[in-house]
């Protein structure tokens, strides 16, 4: 069965997997413009630029290399990433360059520490299939 689910897939940053991922979301937006002439019955819509972003939540682990690299980009880096990959399966992935836009570290009583992040695509998105 080719239906995918959470037991396959993950996100990598510059080739390093971020560990302990609890959820990940890839959003591809396509803007549109309304070019309807006055008095016309049906709207005329044209496609404008596309954009993409990735957000996610991970359980914090001080020994995790992917999360450590990610943290460094926010603390002392320029927040840019030449390749962020969103794997839908072990092999199929969306990827592109991005800039990290948010890093939130949360502690709460009775809970494991969590980090949420968002990344905004700065280039076109590519979809690679090898499955």
């Amino acid at each position: 069965m080719a239906i995918t689910k959470h037991t396959k897939g993950y996100v990598t940053v510059s080739g390093t997997t971020i560990g302990n991922q609890s959820n990940m979301t890839l959003t591809i937006d396509g803007d549109v413009g309304d070019v309807t002439p006055f008095g016309v019955e049906w709207k005329e819509i044209v496609a404008l630029g596309k954009g993409w972003s990735v957000s996610g939540t991970v359980y914090n682990s001080t020994g995790d290399g992917g999360l450590s690299n990610f943290r460094t980009e926010f603390v002392s880096g320029d927040r840019s990433c030449t390749e962020l990959r969103f794997y839908e399966t072990t092999a199929n992935s969306f990827y592109g360059a991005c800039i990290f836009t948010n890093f939130t570290y949360t502690k709460g009583v009775g809970n494991v520490d969590q980090v949420t992040f968002t990344a905004q695509g700065t280039s076109g998105l590519t979809y690679a299939t090898t499955d």
Binding site: T7, G9, Q21, Y59, T90, G110
Partner: protein
């Protein structure tokens, strides 16, 4: 659970620790104070995504303890034993390395109904994770 029992074995004021439950009148005097730990209900939920997805388990363990005093002065013994068991379980390094967390959840006593004895249950919740395909 093995690690919990090993930790309880190190509690100085416990003379006897066993998974084989006994009622208070079955326990020889030389074994008091004693503790009978057992794992009870466990809640499981998917924890992470990916090929090596983890499962999060919340295991409730119940420790039944008996304290005895010929003079009936069991309150102090009971309090000290509760503190000692809690301190050992929450600070044991090996147990801590196997789990995410252990927290006390409740204590129920016999409310002084049995002369010269204090019977009480301590409930702890253990959080841990394991690789989904390993089965726990």
């Amino acid at each position: 659970m093995d690690s919990v029992i090993r930790t309880l074995d190190g509690v100085p004021h416990l003379r006897y620790v066993s998974e084989k439950f006994q009622t208070y009148d079955e326990v020889p005097a030389k074994h008091l104070p004693c503790a009978f730990p057992i794992d009870t209900n466990e809640e499981l939920e998917p924890y992470t995504i990916g090929d090596a997805a983890l499962i999060h388990g919340k295991l409730t363990i119940l420790i039944t303890c008996y304290v005895f005093s010929e003079t009936g002065d069991v309150r102090q013994q009971r309090t000290e034993l509760i503190q000692e068991i809690t301190r050992y379980l929450l600070t044991d390094t090996l147990l801590g390395s196997l789990i995410l967390d252990i927290e006390p959840r409740s204590i129920q006593t016999d409310q002084g109904m049995i002369e010269n004895y204090s019977l009480f249950n301590m409930e702890f919740e253990i959080d841990y994770v394991y690789t989904r395909t390993d089965g726990g």
